[in-house]
Symmetry: C2
Subunit: 454 residues, 2 copies
């Protein structure tokens, strides 16, 4: 029988994360304090992050040790399989080899616990008993609930009200792991009360939820804030996936010619691709093609300017240098909730800016069509976000067929779609709209990107 | 780092299923034609099953080859991991070692595709283009949709109307894999139309859905019927899990002292335990304890008589010799829908009857409490059905602590609970009722077990 899954044993879980900052020819400009526009200092971040996380955020060490306790918890689902998608290859009649790194095996169902677990660990080590965070569709909130459950840390998740009402299972999942999930805006914070007073029927937004979570962490001595994407330490933790994948390719004596992944905040795809991009930067694999896939409705890396902007819509976070559609950009309601973010990780953005990563944008109907083809050949029903990468890979495999190229393609299969089936239903029923970028003009939000001094 | 997961490579997927009929000191009495009460013949079964399946149903060969094509599809998720539950052991402060065989890694999320894939394969090989089946909560329907998607077979799933309305995600999952799912009773069959005429607002029942699926298969030349539990061939296919588990225990030089699993129709637990029960029957492991866990509300193996009865509530199937609460027994509405079955596999029932397997019955609140403990230590959120086994194991591990016994416990972790979170929510909200067997007296249904001739 031909091999399908390339597995690693528990003791092959990487012992260190990979920090691409050590290898970048030029680092991204530093985050700035939003008030002074001066580079943010560790002290700026200490009220809401543990010291070890701040150290990682600013570190330029190439290898950062993964604590043994974190590796133990990783071993619940890691090393995750690298899978050869042989049936998809056959279906597409492509000479290309397609592999995917499968992160849907984690208990919360995505790559998110790769960072939730170490964040919970570092908070616990520094005596923090409670963390706050925001969540949109619920993927990150459930990962943090999962991560904190191992360290007796209380987690308070502010979940955008419209999702809280529409996706009750995500809330239940968080509570099963012992977290508290409240709809945002809530009565729990000053900002939330203000929002509710202004508009008692508001459906909430990620911007409001971030504001509540940050206020909660800032005001309470016992509480830190936890974030699921964008920042350097999150991207660092996610490299565990790419490091494993590299080892798995070695086992079958192969190496990808191209790597695909979906991009919202960018941490999933950064984690899967950075250990390979290292070889590209260093000139060992100059032809490696790295493609971030995103929605046409929120084309951050394919169309947005590269500028300093806030990470949240309320303008509370440090200013980050990144591709941004403007912090108050409101994308059309595509089903890939995790990709509806105005910016992208500064590290990832810088690599895009410098030409190491390219972007492709897709409409949601073609994306779901690709996901259905994947489900009917490879079996797994993937998340709407991940489906963008599947669409990119299918296009590339067809191109390989047309041009007779026996390339090796890898993609970051970041999670399953078990909690997103209502979006599949809308697709199958033919009710899905193909929002375009122009449906929600970003002219105004790009105009609102803050002006820098000098 | 201590090893948690015991993995096998793709090429270690068993090449043969294990047929316990070859090793049973005494076979169960044969199935009977319901009209004549004479032993059912292969010809009785041919209108609705493929020949190869009928052959397996009646076979006494010890080893039956797994077709290469089936092994290839198995390799999407098989071999499944055997996992050492170290954090649960620590939490319980038990000297016992706890292992679980984790079937939640399959795309439909349970052990069911172990039989759905070969059933689809054999139907396809014999030129069948369409299969029909019934499903209650949707676990089996989605597994069959998954299985048939690889063989271009149309699947028609009759889903009990109340579940169809309450669990729309299951229907969407089936349709994602290309199956057609209709609420039962439906307008598609004579029996369905009759039921709807008598009561247009009926919420349906598994009995009605079976009747529709069997009628559909019986009337159409191109269609066979497919079943997800109870019968010998289903149990046979499920032994792939137990055979793998045995190999995995060999790798760590261990062997279970006790094996736990949940029991509805019995195929999951039979599959996980029969390769071990073989050693017990043969006198090599005389002290092996095998415990089937079931709801107090539907205590088939702990309380029901052992008798010939119908497999469905309408009385259409052959008469099967088994533990049965009566074919028209209606269990209280516990959340473990897959355990709400009046009977149990004839092979499994016979082994219970002969003292090789014992039973334990639990209330649903204690079962969910055990599942939450499992989620917060081992990470995975398991199905309400599976949670019965978790409860049994936790009790046994505590007993080991109290008596200082360093036993090795294994359990069949048959599936995840991603589509069952509303039941977790009811538990967490304190809204779950502890139905007892006496809440729904079985006096009448036991009275209705058909009388045999002579």
């Amino acid at each position: 029988m031909k091999q399908t899954k390339i597995l690693l044993e528990d003791n092959e879980i990487p012992k260190e994360w990979y920090n691409i900052r050590a290898d970048m020819p030029e680092l991204p400009d530093p985050p700035l304090n939003p008030k002074t526009q001066e580079p943010a200092t560790p002290e700026d971040l200490e009220p809401i992050f543990p010291k070890q996380v701040i150290k990682q955020e600013l570190s330029e060490e190439r290898r950062i040790p993964i604590p043994e306790k974190v590796r133990e918890i990783y071993s619940i689902w890691r090393p995750s399989p690298l899978v050869r998608a042989r049936r998809l290859e056959e279906e597409l009649e492509t000479p290309a080899k397609i592999y995917y790194k499968w992160e849907g095996v984690s208990p919360p169902g995505s790559h998110k616990p790769n960072t939730a677990v170490p964040q919970a660990y570092y908070n616990s080590k520094e005596g923090v008993e409670r963390v706050s965070t925001e969540t949109g569709a619920g993927q990150w909130g459930s990962a943090l609930a999962f991560g904190t459950s191992f360290f007796d840390i209380d987690a308070r998740v502010y979940m955008v009200r419209v999702s809280y009402d529409q996706k009750p299972t995500r809330k239940t999942l968080m509570e099963t792991w012992g977290a508290r999930c409240v709809p945002s805006p809530s009565e729990k914070t000053e900002y939330g009360r203000k929002m509710l007073e202004e508009n008692p029927d508001t459906s909430g937004s990620l911007g409001m939820a971030i504001a509540e979570a940050v206020e909660d962490a800032g005001k309470r001595e016992d509480t830190n804030y936890s974030i699921g994407s964008v920042l350097n330490h999150v991207v660092l933790h996610q490299t565990v996936a790419g490091l494993e994948a590299k080892k798995q390719f070695e086992k079958v004596d192969d190496y990808p010619d191209s790597i695909y992944g979906c991009v919202g905040g960018g941490s999933n795809f950064s984690g899967a691709s950075f250990p390979f991009i290292k070889d590209k930067i260093k000139g060992e694999k100059p032809d490696l093609k790295v493609v971030g896939c995103e929605p046409e409705a929120c084309p951050t890396i394919t169309r947005a300017p590269y500028a300093y902007d806030y990470g949240d819509s309320a303008g509370l976070t440090p200013l980050l240098k990144m591709h941004t559609l403007g912090h108050d950009f409101v994308p059309a309601p595509v089903h890939a909730g995790g990709l509806r973010y105005h910016g992208a990780s500064p590290l990832f953005s810088k690599l895009v800016k410098d030409g190491h990563i390219e972007g492709e944008a897709f409409h949601q109907n073609e994306v779901f069509k690709a996901a259905i083809k994947f489900a009917r050949t490879e079996g797994f029903v993937v998340a709407p976000e991940t489906s963008h990468a599947v669409k990119g890979v299918i296009d590339e495999a067809i191109r390989c067929r047309e041009e007779g190229e026996e390339k090796t393609i890898m993609f970051a299969n970041s999670g399953h779609g078990h909690f997103d089936l209502s979006s599949y239903e809308e697709y199958l029923d033919g009710n899905l709209e193909d929002f375009k970028y122009s449906d929600v003009s970003a002219d105004e939000s790009i105009e609102n990107i803050p002006k820098m001094k000098e």
